[in-house]
Symmetry: C2
Subunit: 118 residues, 2 copies
DNA sequence: TACCTTGTTCGATATTCGACGAACAACGAA
DNA sequence: TTCGTTGTTCGTCGAATATCGAACAAGGTA
């Protein structure tokens, strides 16, 4: 956890980013982060074990989709929207648009418990 | 080969399409088909065994990215650009734009042998 | 110091994927 | 009918992926 690896913007790989965004749960995580706000991991509610969630967040981070910041024992995550748009213009927007229409994900925020039933 | 399965436009799955488009070779195939023209499989030059190429073309077809038409013993493939744009507006365009910039693929046409060296 | 919370890492397992060669099936041509 | 071409399918391999629970490490808190 200490030295979380974040690829530089110029090192983002299109196939790797596409692969990271091909899992429903990870698409759901990106949707939750789409408003640009930084979220604490504790806010994220996903129907998987915490080790599995940790794994998916790592995949997103390693691909350069998200950025993780550590503060004490807890972590905060943001979407690297600016970097992604710079390298792959329109890709994230198109994905988010499609994901909203499809309601892909199963991830929601702790502050919005009703989302679990939608 | 006989009954190639093509999902209906409304059955396209975003994660499945993203997964299909997360392999460099398959991105290369989509690039070659990006001009909308129908291509015979014999035109496609990719650095893999024919069974592997067949596999990738099947993944694209099953995900609904391409459409295969059979004529005698040979097959022709097209990009389902209209269907994809209808369900996932902007996604294919963004992918192709990024793929061009990155030169992802390693696939070219038999009619353009110079492409192998570019 | 002794907990508690938080997130990572470690096995273990099951599944999927990408790749290949070989065998096969379908069709057209000789 | 006998080939030759074309593309699919099969069997196999190693590598990667998704998932879980358990163990662990780091940092606050009592």
């Amino acid at each position: 956890m200490r030295y979380a690896h974040h690829p530089a913007t110029e090192d983002l790989s299109l196939p790797e980013v596409m692969a990271a965004l091909s899992d429903p749960l990870r698409i759901g995580l990106v949707r939750v982060l789409a408003d640009g706000a930084e979220r604490g991991w504790g806010e994220l509610r996903a129907p998987v074990a915490k080790s599995t969630l940790s794994h998916h967040l790592r995949v997103l981070r390693d691909a350069g989709v998200t950025r993780t910041r550590q503060e004490g024992t807890r972590c905060f995550v943001t979407l690297r929207r600016r970097d992604l748009d710079e390298r792959f213009p329109g890709l994230v927007g198109a994905l988010l648009g499609a994901a909203e229409a499809e309601d892909v994900g199963g991830v929601h925020l702790a502050s919005d418990p009703g989302a679990a039933r939608r």
